[in-house]
Symmetry: D2
Subunit: 251 residues, 4 copies
């Protein structure tokens, strides 16, 4: 009987945690770090369906030790100023974990992270502007579990950083949200991808200078995404494998 | 908090129920009908996570009254000899229900049903041979929830009807299973599609003259598919809608 | 040697041709009909690479006789007020021709045509507003042949009818263009689909009260789409086919 | 007017060229190297539509100098024993060229090349067996330009190395061919992907110990793929770009 979901989903929120300590404006919004705001939001949405753990750049191995990786079902990734400081060794491990079934939710400026670029195989670059403009995220996949509970045709955010197309990613498996920006651009803001056994969700909203991760609709989407992306059972191997004996006779 | 899944998933199994009453060989395998075998399999897999109901061709409105349709979260469809006997009115209602969010699992010869053809927009035809040959369903999407709990790289069935490419369907959203047939053909045997708000899973295995729906791995896949396809919450409308007032000012 | 493209591509432009004869404002813009403007645009772009033919609703069989259909490599479809007047028999023939390899370019309000709905399997509805607002079509697939020769990141149109999401179509095979509208909405305005052997391109721009089909960038995209969608060689059949003899021995 | 295709398509065939010089059996089949057999095949199919150039591992910069890369519209890649000998610097350049619009055709054991893995973002591993078995490539996308001119429902090769699923790649944009192997496996043997502005075709057939690249149907598919993948015009940039001034006023 399908019972894999009976135990809590083990979530690791990774945050570079730089802006919140170096910039007074950011500190006002995310005093304890973006990761703590995210943790609080996800826990309030999902209660004991999840066990949430945080990790940051300046910890040993960026807080992503083998033990942490082995016990993570879904990882959230927030990075911006410190992309280059993430060690290639940790990136390689996270990449392998996703291919092995760990879910990954990449947030906002995480588009430029090494791990997202490695998973996508493209540059993942985009246009941007920081002008506090209105963003309206239109739903293009009503009925998708990641959008469960979101009322209406769109989610509007009053003040945002703009991200504009072209967003250099592979064609998403599913496109869930397209953003309209007051200043004239559009963006594919909610995209799903499967890579290996892992499920990936890129979600655009969020920025260190806007309190977007306190928005309950944003929180609901992230909570839905956690449940959607959670690791499935199984110990599948992606190694090359020699099968010397045919399953059926060869003439 | 995401709680939509707390109530049982309401499943309707539709079977034309013709071969089992007219053909002695079929009767030996599926004495009470394919639908009863499917019901038993799904209930044994999912217990009180589901409430299963059956409907057949010769009931009034083929058993698919407005009330039944309004209370179905996922429908399974098995048809073969009676595709043409299904009324266009019922087909139109089922089609609309899928677009409105009802899950649909189309089984084996259901590829030729009116409702699948209408949802796909293509002819959905294929090559076939009934020679009791080995079929081996290879997993192309390890980690997909529909394949949860399936061990190994493939599922082998000892005696099957062959379906061969080209299978005239749109490119699936996700291709989960490809069949190898002893006689020399291949087939895309597990395919997902989203249409409107509804999730669709086409699953090839099954035939009236082979006891395939008693296979526990087949049962597991179908049970997983029921959970995957279940209707999400929401009262989204797909009607055209006039929005005379702009959300932002037009110069 | 691949030489299929040596002969001209045979194009049929279908227009219901209603607004241009009944509405004085429309007549001013498209005096001889939208089809004639489209023909002129495509011929000026493609010269002797194409042979363009037109057909309209009020002709016998809507101008789409068996002979016309048999000699069409790519069809363009413009309809709006007369969708319901198109006979089901003609729709069924066009649908079959697309599955058999004829390219189809569906323009603007053609989203509501019977033939597009039948090919998509969904309702194809959307939100709309006629307020003469700016539309900016952002390129999401740079390098796609349909966008060849289009400079910059977007195409801007000064006055348009708005179409907004959710657009109830299957996930496109390729999403080429997303529109931003001044009034606050977004739309998937350039979408490709393969169905059977046929290639389909939905292109949003155009309306009977705006001179959009005179825009050379719009003309270039349509000309590119004609070349992209043109029928390939081959006499493939989509019929069900019984293969009684296995290609390989069955034990 | 679309005229980009008037000039010849500049093709570079890259071959590691190891087996053909170190193994007598291979030398018998591909005496001058697999690249020369491929060049001959493509030139005989496409004549003066192409200008073909070859490059090999042991040349300076593996023959892939900046000048060669700047003048290549489509690259074919054959590697096997020497994947690890390809320098990371050259891999990075080829990767960037593909994102910038160069077509890439990855052949057979090229699935394990660094450049393919980097573009896919996954491990690209598979199962294999070298037993000289029959392979039958079934067409799943009739009407696709890469399959133009291929008669019938499949291409059969009498003696091949087996590649079996799971093939660890992202879901292809288009799946054109599925292989059946005599020994019991299946494989997605013809897959297209767009990455950045570049078009990629993975084509399974070929092996150093079977004369598969002399098969005219294989040659036809490769020639079609060259035309399909050729670079489009345009000087698009994938760099991140700051757009300080909004296109529309922000309140």
């Amino acid at each position: 009987m399908p019972t894999a979901n009976a135990s809590p989903c083990r979530v690791t929120i990774w945050n570079e945690f730089i802006h919140e300590r170096s910039n007074a404006d950011v500190k006002k919004i995310y005093r304890d770090g973006i990761h703590v705001a995210l943790q609080s939001s996800i826990e309030s949405q999902l209660g004991n369906l999840v066990e949430v753990h945080c990790a940051t750049l300046d910890e040993p191995e960026h807080g992503l030790t083998d033990e942490v990786l082995a016990t993570t079902d879904v990882m959230l990734w927030w990075g911006h100023a410190g992309h280059d400081q993430v060690s290639d060794e940790v990136v390689a491990k996270v990449h392998q974990k996703v291919l092995g079934g760990m879910g990954l939710i990449v947030l906002h400026s995480g588009h430029g992270s090494k791990v997202f670029q490695r998973l996508m195989g493209t540059g993942c670059m985009l246009r941007w502007r920081e002008a506090g403009e209105v963003e309206r995220l239109w739903i293009t996949a009503p009925g998708h579990p990641i959008l469960s509970g979101i009322e209406g045709d769109y989610v509007e955010l009053p003040e945002t950083e703009m991200y504009g197309e072209h967003f250099d990613i592979p064609e998403p498996d599913e496109l869930l949200l397209i953003s309209w920006f007051e200043g004239g651009e559009v963006f594919r803001s909610g995209c799903t991808f499967r890579r290996g056994q892992g499920k990936i969700f890129y979600f655009r909203p969020g920025h260190e200078t806007y309190p977007i991760y306190y928005d309950p609709r944003v929180g609901r989407i992230l909570a839905n995404a956690v449940l959607w992306a959670r690791r499935q059972d199984g110990s599948y191997t992606h190694d090359a494998r020699h099968i010397p004996e045919p399953l059926n006779p060869i003439r």
